[in-house]
């Protein structure tokens, strides 16, 4: 590691030590593209963007390792040059997040239901802990069961357990062929079809519904995609239009996201239409349902729970917290883990749990 990076790491350690000493909170910040996400933002901002750069990328190993401050765009460009990609399609919201922020938030795009979530591609991580130690979990290999899977635990931890300084991710070759079909279908029929097509092994890699139309993306070898297309039918979209659709879905840029209050419901893929007013935007083949501006009196959390799912208040006032409340036993476990990783509560306090 270069002298300047050493200095960046040294400065981070000093800030941690000072925060520990004064019992002051630090608010970890990459590019700040997800400040809206999570419960509360508290503490002195600790910028992590300077600790950046791709550490190692070997396409034949299917692994990329990068420091937390590396821009997602830089990683995607490096992968794209070798015809590889991050199959979990992390949302960038029209900006350029850091890879540290991508992993700390653990959000995934439309391919999540088919290729896996951010956490499924995490192979290893380095964590700068509350006592300033640099800890390494996992590694740069596909299979690793030595010790608890702390690197996956960090994915989605919203910086509450320490500073993720480096991440190793599994990458995949881009599918040889990809096509998008559009069909006119009511929501319930679309969700049922999405599940049937997946069960039939048609290589579905994206399935969404909005305003009376179903979008289905097929990925795989050219003959497999062709065969699946013939079986599903519908209108075949030209590449640019298809890409524009999936990108705006991935980055939460469809008109629905202009709503004042946005709810994100994660439910089983086969869940029946939810008893909520208004049409949802459906992603993940039925497993993700977005609602904009529901009437205030609607009990969204209860509706999500009744469907064996959870509801996240993505945007808008959230007096009961943004995240779906955890059962008491799980909340206790969260607090105990937090206390052990961050005894003085200096890292992003209150960002993941309200109390």
């Amino acid at each position: 590691m270069s002298a300047s990076l050493d200095a960046v790491l040294g400065a981070l350690r000093e800030r941690i030590a000072a925060a520990q000493g004064a019992r002051r909170a630090l608010r970890l910040k990459g590019a700040g593209t997800k400040d809206f996400y999570g419960e509360t933002l508290a503490g002195e901002v600790l910028e992590l963007g300077a600790f950046s750069g791709i550490v190692d990328y070997e396409p034949s190993e299917l692994v990329i390792t990068a420091r937390c401050g590396t821009a997602l765009s830089e990683i995607e460009a490096a992968l794209s040059a070798r015809d590889q990609f991050l199959a979990f399609e992390p949302p960038a919201f029209g900006a350029d997040p850091t890879i540290g922020g991508v992993i700390a938030a653990g959000l995934s795009g439309p391919r999540r239901a088919y290729a896996g979530a951010a956490r499924d591609f995490v192979l290893g991580a380095k964590l700068l802990s509350a006592d300033g130690a640099l800890l390494r979990f996992g590694g740069r290999v596909m299979k690793n069961v030595a010790g608890f899977d702390v690197s996956r635990l960090l994915c989605g931890s919203l910086g509450t357990l320490g500073i993720i300084t480096e991440i190793s991710l599994k990458v995949l070759p881009r599918p040889r062929a990809e096509e998008t079909l559009r069909l006119e279908l009511p929501a319930a029929a679309a969700v049922e079809s999405f599940n049937r097509w997946s069960a039939a092994g048609l290589g579905v890699s994206g399935a969404a519904w909005w305003q009376g139309g179903a979008w289905v993306r097929l990925s795989g070898s050219p003959p497999a995609v062709r065969a699946a297309r013939e079986r599903i039918g519908g209108e075949r979209l030209e590449t640019a239009r298809a890409q524009a659709w999936w990108e705006s879905l991935r980055h939460a840029q469809l008109p629905l996201f202009a709503g004042r209050v946005i709810w994100r419901l994660s439910v089983p893929a086969t869940a029946s239409p939810l008893p909520l007013p208004g049409d949802p935007l459906i992603d993940w083949g039925g497993a993700l349902r977005w609602y904009a501006d529901p009437p205030g009196e609607v009990a969204i959390r209860e509706i999500a729970s009744a469907a064996a799912g959870t509801a996240l208040c993505w945007r808008g006032p959230a007096p009961q917290g943004r995240f779906h409340p955890l059962p008491p036993a799980l909340a206790r476990l969260h607090r105990r883990l937090k206390e052990r990783f961050d005894p003085h509560g200096i890292f992003n306090p209150g960002r993941l749990l309200t109390d």
Binding site: G116, V141, M142, A146
Partner: protein, 484 residues
């Protein structure tokens, strides 16, 4: 706590036929598939229901009695080696498949269900459960969750952690934990990822929701011979670099093919220094395309001969050699010791060379089978357990292989787990602060340290002692571990 008191307390929560206390009844539970480590449990509990599991845990927690959970006992790292003062909690009777939903493509199963039974039950719907450890006929889903088990199809289909949607179970205090579930995303930390592969140290699983995949209609296997292990290793990298993710990519060295061929008659090329088995699956056309591509890449990478399976029978015969590598080792030698290191794929040739040098240094033979696509190496060291010196050399040999894996940026265990077996190598792979983080996770779930104590996380004292041994003697006696 005297054993009689524990037994008396457990009798109040378990029917009489769910508790074993006679020595002859407990004896079968003294070890898992790592038979070098044996301990007789004080008691064996065989609950039939989730509620009985909860009661056993609560009782043991109250009495301060250690609990070691056990699935089918096929683990290779001593993860379910009992505690002599504790209760061995067998999940074998929790063996019902609760639901299969063909549209949602999930199954809810109890932990004692054997891995293969899930796929058999799902077959009627054209679905299957992807992780396929070679012990899949016997190994249980609960054990798979505890170990984050793999198999030969991980590169394309992932490990247990990628194929389990939810786990339901209990802490040592009998508190219900439902991690993950039928929805894909949930609030809070990803405790499901933490629980999978936690080797029974955090909770006891009573129900698992697994993902089912559509069974690919067709599969075909390419068998390629290479004149040296380096070109075989390079061919593996070439396949991946060409943008191909095969369903399986396995490698066997000549010692391994020579061991299995007389036994299985798989049709392996015994002149080759190493062979690769590369599988494609999918639709007929898709497989045809991919096989042609694989052939081109392998030929270019220097394969001396190439064969493509012409029938399902031939494909299965070629696989049977690979899947019988462990029993074949058992025929060649009174005992064998299976290692499980993982390395970046590019180092495979280098590691195989180093292992061959170690063979002469330790005076032991070692055959190598390798999940090459994942970089997961299974050297099988052949030894004689009746010869104490042979076992000690074997352990040192194995440790040296694992330390080499760590040095090359890999890991001491790819899929078999740490258990009791790899406590010393854990001292090599992880710093004291990293081990303290594992201990912190353990404490958060199990503050009294009663679930599977002494596994997975080596104590500071042990690592200090191990460090001294390596420096002063280069030898690793485990005085505290009973042997054979």
């Amino acid at each position: 706590m005297p054993k009689a008191d524990i037994a008396a307390a457990l009798r109040t929560v378990l029917p009489a036929d769910c508790l074993l206390w006679r020595e002859e009844d407990r004896r079968p539970y003294e070890c898992d598939a790592l038979t070098a480590f044996r301990r007789l449990p004080a008691l064996v509990a065989l609950p039939r229901t989730e509620e009985q599991v909860r009661q056993v845990l609560r009782t043991c927690s109250r009495l301060g009695t250690p609990v070691v959970a056990r699935g089918a006992g096929t683990g290779l790292s001593g993860g379910s080696t009992p505690d002599e003062e504790g209760v061995l909690l067998s999940c074998a009777r929790l063996n019902r498949i609760l639901t299969i939903d063909p549209l949602e493509r999930i199954a809810r199963v109890e932990p004692g269900v054997p891995n293969l039974k899930v796929s058999e039950a799902a077959a009627a719907h054209g679905l299957y459960y992807a992780p396929d450890p070679s012990s899949q006929v016997a190994c249980s889903i609960g054990g798979n969750v505890a170990e984050n088990s793999g198999g030969v199809h991980c590169l394309k289909y992932g490990l247990t952690v990628h194929n389990v949607l939810g786990v339901r179970g209990y802490t040592i205090d009998g508190e219900l934990l439902e991690l993950g579930g039928r929805a894909l995303d949930g609030p809070g930390l990803d405790l499901l990822a933490l629980a999978i592969g936690s080797e029974g140290l955090l909770m006891v699983t009573t129900e698992v929701t697994v993902k089912l995949l559509p069974r690919p209609p067709c599969a075909q296997l390419v068998m390629a011979s290479f004149a040296d292990v380096h070109s075989a290793g390079n061919a593996v990298a070439a396949v991946i670099a060409a943008g191909i993710i095969p369903a399986a990519l396995e490698m066997m060295d000549r010692k391994a093919t020579a061991a299995v061929e007389p036994f299985v008659h798989a049709g392996y090329d015994l002149d080759a220094a190493a062979i690769l088995l590369v599988e494609a699956d999918g639709t007929l056309e898709e497989v045809g395309d991919q096989i042609a591509e694989i052939e081109t890449v392998l030929r270019r990478a220097g394969a001396s001969t190439l064969k493509v399976s012409g029938s399902e029978a031939e494909r299965l015969r070629w696989w049977s050699g690979r899947k019988n590598a462990f029993p074949a080792a058992g025929r060649l030698s009174p005992d064998y010791y299976c290692m499980d290191g993982t390395i970046p794929r590019k180092h495979v040739g280098e590691v195989l060379d180093a292992i061959s040098r170690m063979e002469s240094r330790y005076g032991l033979r070692c055959m190598n089978v390798f999940h090459a696509g994942d970089g997961n190496l299974h050297p099988l060291i052949l030894f004689d357990a009746n010869d104490q010196d042979s076992w000690e050399r074997t352990e040192r040999f194995g440790t040296e292989i694992l330390e080499l894996c760590v040095e090359l940026g890999g890991t001491i265990t790819g899929e078999h787990g740490v258990g009791l077996e790899k406590l010393n190598p854990m001292c090599v792979q992880f710093s004291p602060a990293e081990r303290a983080a594992f201990a912190a996770v353990k404490e958060a779930f199990d503050p009294k340290g009663l679930l599977n104590p002494g596994k997975l996380i080596p104590t500071l004292a042990r690592c200090a002692e191990y460090g001294r041994m390596r420096v002063h003697h280069g030898a690793l006696p485990h005085a505290e571990l009973p042997r054979f």
